[in-house]
């Protein structure tokens, strides 16, 4: 069983490759797969039908079944079970599947585009249907169900250049997916109530489940919504005629024989056991009846042969679900017989239409004439199938319809008015079926007055063969209906026995059912003869029930709603989004704290030291100054005041690491601000100062106040001891370091730090990309290649006022001569940009600071410092070099590109993470190594220092990238020329210093 499933999907997977070799003949290869499976099914049929249908899977007399656990915690299993019902469906799925694939080999042309994927999808569809009917787990059932939906979507949309195909495919997908998802809810409800998702077990415990009442009633309704949508019942029926945009073999297989039967299958599967739930009968009988009549009525007015069949299928599906929904043994027998008969004749008729369309180029009744003469074999086949559809003896359709009448007559005995209404309606439906069957045959083949015969080439035998086989089944089984009855009887055994059971047969004697059949044929003939009048009457009637229009309204409504909602929320204004986010962040916690009791903040102390109060006031002044400042750099300076104030607070609070880091960062940030913003105007608001001041102030103050409240409350809520009480001991004994903060960073919480330095590297690359635009600009400029005094030359406009003009002139005059070089590249700088004092100080301090940074890095494990502080210190030293000697000086002082530097740093950090694994420790484990050097004494080296060195390198790389991008590259652009071609020449790039 699993082998069949696997083979179907596997061959589908390689089908496109075979198509490349064999062209359309590949369809023969593909058809062989379901054909072989069909043979396997026939050979083993006895074992499926003779088994005890209700036995649990695994018992010796149970139907063949497979159970594998798949997702245990979710109770999802790979359960399959081939009982009589599944086997009957498989007859249709595999048999019709093989014939349709065979037919495709003559239907398509070798040069049709996408024919390979089409073949694969069609075969995969057979696999999905096989899985659907054999699945014994509800989730598996759902998965296969949705696979058929998706494949149906792809197959309907095969003619992707036609808008009708694309649109119909989407409609079918939306409708059936809606039903499928509804069904999933029902299946989950059912599974949760039963405690198992195995269908056979759920059916076995159906009486207890049904007794629990409403919950199961609702679950079953939801499941039935899935069945009703898949089988195109009212109000979902409109997708099926639309799906006729699919190639005709697809219509024959999916939309007549197989997929639309999935809904019937689902009803048949759950009928024994759940047909007694409250809404089962009303829902299925009403919808089935409505569909039967609406479908038949619509079929009568179509002039496209395929649409006649499509509406006929809609009608017949309503008929089938109505019968299966009755849920008694007689109806089940009649329903199953009808389903098989329908599969045979409807598939045949679709294939007939396919041939007509293929050979004549139209399916329009008004354009076809005289085909019965030009293709007699096709006509005979069509006539037999149409007779079966109409219920004319001696066809299988007649046998099945006769049994339906008998079952309904039997049902009417016990159910009074309801039974009679059903009977009358079904007879009405059958009359219309007869009429449209006649219309089909007449429309497709008759010689019509005033029309010349449609040209029609000869139909090849191979093209006709599948039709002949199907028609053969239609005819032969009418004479040996006992065979069908035998294979159906194990299924109907699941229903309670009835007093008077019916049997399939061509001749039962002069019984009432025969009378109904005769009535059907006479009335149907009259309806066909009066077709012109009926048609005129139909055209006058307004469309009473146009579900397609309603569907469009719903879809358009959703479209409009989404546009309206998007227009209201997506305003394109960043501040609007922020206001929404911040308001939520403000209101939700406040609301929650009002709703729930929160601890009252208490134990206030005004300040730790008076100095703290002073610094606090300075920070507040700085912050308010930043708001008031109208000049760009004044605002930046004001923000810096708060930053340096923070450093002071850290120092006072007993956090030396933070104080040092904050101090260094603040300095470098200040430099970066100045470098980046020097190109921008001095005034902050050259134009359009933004409005809504009061509103923004309210949100700001509200947010600040709520943060104060949250902080105070959460601190008052603390009941447990801080986790960090254990840190000092852990740091000293475990991490072999005295600086607890540093050991936390590089050892105890090294993963966090590792993540952080990755972010730093990403941000640095981001800065470089934003400024350089193309690449990171990792090339190295040497001082020897740069003309003396050329860098930044002329960027200082000579002032108009006499003094500065004279000063600049003097500076230039003196500086032209080569001067003793304190810096490597000092001489490249334009003379008026040089400062001898700064150059000397830099010369003296640079190496000292660099050494100090390495010291801070290495001793950081025990004293304040570490990779971050060390890296920033080194960055500061490089900043000095840049400021004193210009961009060539920076390039000279950084022989390694920042990209390489950060890469090496990350590599080193990764190495220190992974290396312990080699020695059998966990990641980021550290070890202390003691060693004695002559002169330096005894030292202890902790391996986590290697990680810290990585941090150091990443931070240095970040600072270099900032200097190179915001400093050097902007210098370069503001001079209005580019030394290399790799830089872009964006307009406005020359807007630089001095403007």
């Amino acid at each position: 069983m699993l082998l069949v499933l696997f083979a179907l999907f596997a061959v589908a997977g390689i089908a496109p490759l075979i198509f490349r070799k064999l062209g359309r003949s590949t369809f023969y290869v593909l058809a062989a797969v379901p054909a072989a499976a069909f043979v396997w099914l026939l050979v083993n049929f006895k074992s499926f039908t003779s088994a005890q249908q209700t036995a649990a899977s695994g018992e010796p007399n149970a139907p063949p079944s497979v159970t594998h656990s798949w997702i245990g915690p979710l109770n999802i299993h790979l359960d399959f079970r081939m009982d009589a019902l599944a086997a009957i469906l498989c007859l249709l799925v595999l048999g019709v599947g093989a014939l349709v694939l065979f037919y495709c080999a003559r239907y398509f042309k070798n040069e049709d585009p996408h024919i390979g994927t089409f073949g694969a999808q069609l075969l995969a569809f057979a696999g999905a249907m096989f899985g659907l009917v054999t699945a014994d787990d509800m989730i598996m059932l759902f998965i296969f169900w949705e696979i058929t939906t998706i494949l149906s979507y792809l197959l309907i949309g095969f003619n992707r250049t036609r808008m009708s195909a694309r649109r119909s495919a989407l409609t079918a997908l939306m409708v059936t997916t809606f039903g499928g998802l509804t069904m999933l809810v029902g299946l989950v409800m059912l599974g949760e109530a039963a405690g198992t998702y195995r269908i056979s077990e759920i059916l076995a415990m159906a009486p207890e489940l049904v007794a629990t009442g409403t919950f199961i009633d609702v679950a079953i309704v939801l499941v039935l919504v899935g069945a009703v949508s898949k089988s195109a019942l009212v109000p979902f029926h409109f997708w099926l005629p639309g799906a006729m945009a699919a190639p005709t073999p697809v219509s024959a297989y999916l939309h007549a024989a197989a997929m639309v039967k999935a809904g019937v299958y689902l009803v048949a599967r759950f009928a024994p056991g759940f047909n007694t739930t409250s809404y089962w009968e009303p829902m299925l009988l009403v919808l089935g009846l409505a569909t039967l009549l609406i479908g038949g009525w619509r079929a009568l007015k179509q002039h496209d042969l395929k649409l006649v069949l499509a509406y006929g299928t809609v009608s017949q599906l309503g008929f089938l679900i109505l019968i299966m929904g009755l849920g008694n043994a007689n109806a089940a027998l009649a329903g199953m017989a009808m389903m098989l008969a329908h599969g045979f004749f409807k598939a045949t008729l679709f294939l007939v239409v396919g041939i007509i369309d293929h050979k004549s180029g139209t399916r329009d009744i008004h354009q076809l004439s005289g085909l019965y003469k030009s293709s007699p074999v096709l006509f005979v086949v069509a006539a037999l199938a149409a007779a079966s559809m109409a219920g004319v003896p001696p066809m299988l359709g007649f046998v099945a319809k006769e049994s339906v009448y008998e079952a309904l007559l039997e049902y009417a005995h016990g159910h009074g008015v309801l039974g009679n209404v059903l009977l009358v309606a079904v007879v009405l439906g059958a009359i219309m079926t007869f009429a449209y069957a006649a219309r089909f045959l007449w429309g497709g083949f008759a010689s019509k007055p005033g029309m010349s015969p449609t040209p029609f080439p000869k139909v090849p035998a191979l093209f006709l063969a599948p039709l002949v086989v199907l028609t053969g089944a239609t005819v032969i089984f009418a004479w040996i209906p006992q065979v069908l009855e035998n294979i159906i009887s194990p299924y109907i055994g699941l229903f309670p026995p009835v007093e008077k059971s019916i049997h399939l047969g061509l001749w039962h004697g002069l019984v009432p059912a025969l009378g109904l059949s005769v009535l059907t044929m006479i009335a149907g003939s009259l309806l066909f003869i009066a077709r012109e009048k009926i048609f005129a009457f139909q055209s006058k009637l307004p469309a009473l029930f146009d579900a397609e229009r309603d569907y469009k309204h719903i879809v358009n409504g959703v479209d409009n709603l989404s546009i309206w909602l998007t227009g209201r929320t997506q305003r394109g204004s960043l501040s609007f989004y922020l206001v929404v986010i911040l308001s939520v962040a403000l209101l939700v916690p406040s609301g929650v704290s009002l709703w729930f009791s929160t601890p009252t903040p208490g134990n206030f102390i005004p300040f730790d030291t008076p100095a703290q109060l002073v610094i606090g006031v300075i920070i507040i002044i700085g912050a308010i100054g930043a708001v008031q400042a109208n000049r760009r750099f004044l605002a930046v300076l004001m923000v810096s005041v708060t930053g340096y104030g923070m450093a002071a607070i850290f120092a006072l609070q007993g956090a030396p690491d933070l104080a040092v880091t904050q101090l260094l960062v603040e300095t470098i940030v200040l430099v970066a601000f100045v470098l980046a913003l020097r190109a921008l105007p001095v005034e902050l608001w050259a134009k359009n100062p933004t409005g809504h001041r009061l509103g923004r102030a309210l949100i700001g103050i509200g947010f600040g106040a709520s943060m104060v409240y949250i902080a105070a409350t959460s601190m008052a809520s603390r009941v447990a001891d801080p986790i960090s009480l254990a840190y000092p001991e852990l740091a000293y004994t475990g991490g072999a370091g005295k600086n607890i903060v540093n050991v936390t960073l590089v050892d105890m919480r090294a993963w966090d730090t590792f993540g952080e330095i990755t972010v730093l590297a990403a941000a640095a690359t981001g800065v470089a990309s934003l400024i350089f635009v193309r690449g990171r600009g990792d090339f190295r400029q040497r001082a020897s290649n740069v003309a003396e005094g050329s860098v930044d030359h002329g960027s200082e406009a000579i002032g108009t006022d006499g003094r500065s003009r004279a000063g600049l002139a003097v500076a230039r005059k003196f500086a032209i001569s080569s001067r003793e070089s304190w810096l490597v590249a000092g001489h490249t700088l334009a003379p008026e940009r040089r400062s001898i004092t700064f150059e000397v100080v830099t010369r003296l301090l640079f190496h000292t600071i660099l050494l100090a940074s390495i010291y801070v890095l290495l001793t950081g494990h025990n004293t304040p410092g570490g990779g971050f502080a060390g890296g920033l210190l080194a960055g500061l030293a490089l900043t000095m070099r840049y400021l004193a000697g210009g961009r060539v000086e920076l390039a000279e002082s950084t022989p390694i590109s920042p990209g390489t530097m950060m890469g090496l740093g990350l590599g080193l950090a990764s190495l220190s993470a992974v290396a312990p694994l080699i020695f059998g420790f966990q990641m980021f484990s550290s070890a202390a190594i003691e060693f004695t050097l002559p002169l330096f004494g005894t030292h202890k080296f902790v391996t986590s220092t290697i990680f810290d060195i990585g941090v150091y390198m990443v931070v240095v790389g970040l600072v270099i990238d900032v200097l190179r991008s915001l400093g050097s590259e902007i210098d370069d652009r503001s001079e209005g020329r580019s030394p290399t071609d790799i830089h872009d020449t964006v307009s406005g790039a020359d807007t630089g210093v001095g403007r």
Binding site: R167, D357, S360, P455, S573, L725, E756, V767, T991
Partner: protein, 154 residues
């Protein structure tokens, strides 16, 4: 644990001013707002450490509670450096925005607005389609006249 009023108020002011600036249209002011918010957050972290204590440099025999809580410090330290990286990145954005449009303002996104103003009519979904009674119109080997050449299979 004790709650330091000074730190809380300074934090509140930094948050309020930071948010106020964040809602501006001038990108420079937005960035300054972000920096102030970062400082506010760092102060919040620090104040959760409780009252001041000894610097967290291990010395034998000292009660762990006597140190300033080292965990918020480790968090703050990384926050400081990340704020630096974010600031540098934002500076890059401001510079690029200035180069491209000579403005450092946060403009409304036209694309966003266009989404809300589009017509609900969609050609693919809503245009009428001609009736279509053959898959094979336009094919060479069929004898019937081509009815919809434009809709013929590609």
């Amino acid at each position: 644990m004790s709650t330091n009023v000074t730190l809380l108020i300074v934090m509140g002011v930094l948050f309020a001013v930071g948010i106020y600036l964040l809602l501006e249209r001038s990108m420079t002011r937005v960035l300054l707002g972000i920096v102030l918010l970062g400082n506010g957050v760092n102060l919040l972290l620090l104040s959760t450490a409780g009252a001041r204590g000894k610097a967290p440099i291990y010395e034998p025999g000292i009660d762990p509670g006597d140190y300033t809580d080292p965990l918020p410090q480790a968090l703050t330290l990384t926050a400081i450096v990340i704020t630096f990286a974010v600031t540098a990145f934002m500076l890059g954005i401001i510079y690029r925005s200035w180069v491209l449009s000579s403005a450092d303002t946060v403009e409304d996104d036209d694309e966003d607005l266009r989404v809300g103003q589009q017509s609900p009519f969609d050609f693919e979904e809503d245009s009428p389609i001609p009736e279509d009674t053959s898959e094979f119109d336009g094919d060479e080997d069929t004898q019937a006249t081509t009815k919809n050449p434009g809709e013929a299979r590609a």
